[in-house]
């Protein structure tokens, strides 16, 4: 495998206030690396939605961002409840979020579709009762 830069984060599932910190850090790091602003924005928004999902739906998890020469890979891995029907979950507007989460500004059912829209490739590997692993890729060009 070619050389790459890795950023690794533990995402705390008990704290909605701090949710998104990893994504903000990634954005800062990618800026320092001098990458294209549009690519940075796509990577950080997609990761932010995924990070929020890990907090509100899965009790936290781990996030890795790997920067390769030609693409950036974002891997979000949790041991939450899993997604029973991925196709349904991907639909805009579908959400199992509580009213409480909605009152916090999330739970509009747009997260997964935003993630898909901002990335060039997205794979969801989810098993009910085991967890969810989402791998996204944004090409440099």
């Amino acid at each position: 495998m070619s050389e790459f830069v890795n950023f690794h984060f533990d995402v705390d599932g008990d704290n909605f206030v701090s949710a998104g910190q990893a994504s903000v850090k990634v954005k800062k790091n990618l800026r320092e690396m001098g990458l294209d602003p549009d690519i940075i924005r796509r990577v950080s928004i997609a990761m932010y939605e995924g990070e929020i999902n890990m907090v509100i739906h899965a009790g936290g998890g781990v996030a890795d961002v790997n920067v390769y020469k030609d693409y950036i890979e974002i891997i979000l891995d949790d041991h939450g409840p899993g997604i029973p029907n991925v196709e349904l979950a991907m639909q805009e507007g579908y959400s199992t979020a509580s009213d409480h989460v909605r009152s916090l500004g999330f739970g509009a059912g747009m997260g997964l579709s935003n993630m898909k829209r901002y990335t060039d490739d997205m794979q969801i590997d989810s098993t009910v009762g085991v967890g969810t692993k989402i791998t996204m890729r944004v090409n440099m060009e």
Binding site: F16, V17, P37, R41, E49, G105, M110, N114, R117
Partner: protein, 118 residues
């Protein structure tokens, strides 16, 4: 328009970012649902919201926005103000409600779908 014009038009209080008040802004977005804000990048520079939590500030940062306006006199926490300072943003608070605040800014030339000018 400049952020200072937004302050005047909305009769708003400046909560932080005084030094960035003369930045030019061309477009804005108003919402309490953060995923809606995150859905389409159109180079909006200003976020109007009635929601008060750290995610509003992070969402604005994700979108490269430079100003947040809280409507209905909502007051952010110290933690949120600190985040906004870190991100070099202006935070304003106005008594006006969302519909009115957006209407005033829109009719004064702050559009929804701005193009960043040189």
């Amino acid at each position: 328009m400049k952020i200072s014009d937004i302050k005047e038009l909305l009769d708003a209080q400046v909560l932080c970012g005084e030094v960035y008040m003369y930045r030019d802004v061309f477009s804005a977005c108003g919402s309490d649902m953060m995923s809606d804000v995150l859905a389409y990048v159109k180079d909006q520079a200003v976020l109007l919201s009635g929601l008060v939590n750290s995610q509003v500030v992070r969402t604005a940062e994700m979108m490269d926005m430079v100003c947040i306006v809280f409507v209905r006199s909502k007051q952010p926490t110290d933690e949120m103000i600190q985040l906004a300072k870190d991100y070099k943003m202006v935070m304003l608070s106005t008594e006006k409600r969302m519909y009115e605040a957006c209407g005033i800014l829109y009719s004064n030339g702050l559009v929804a779908n701005g193009q960043k000018k040189a």
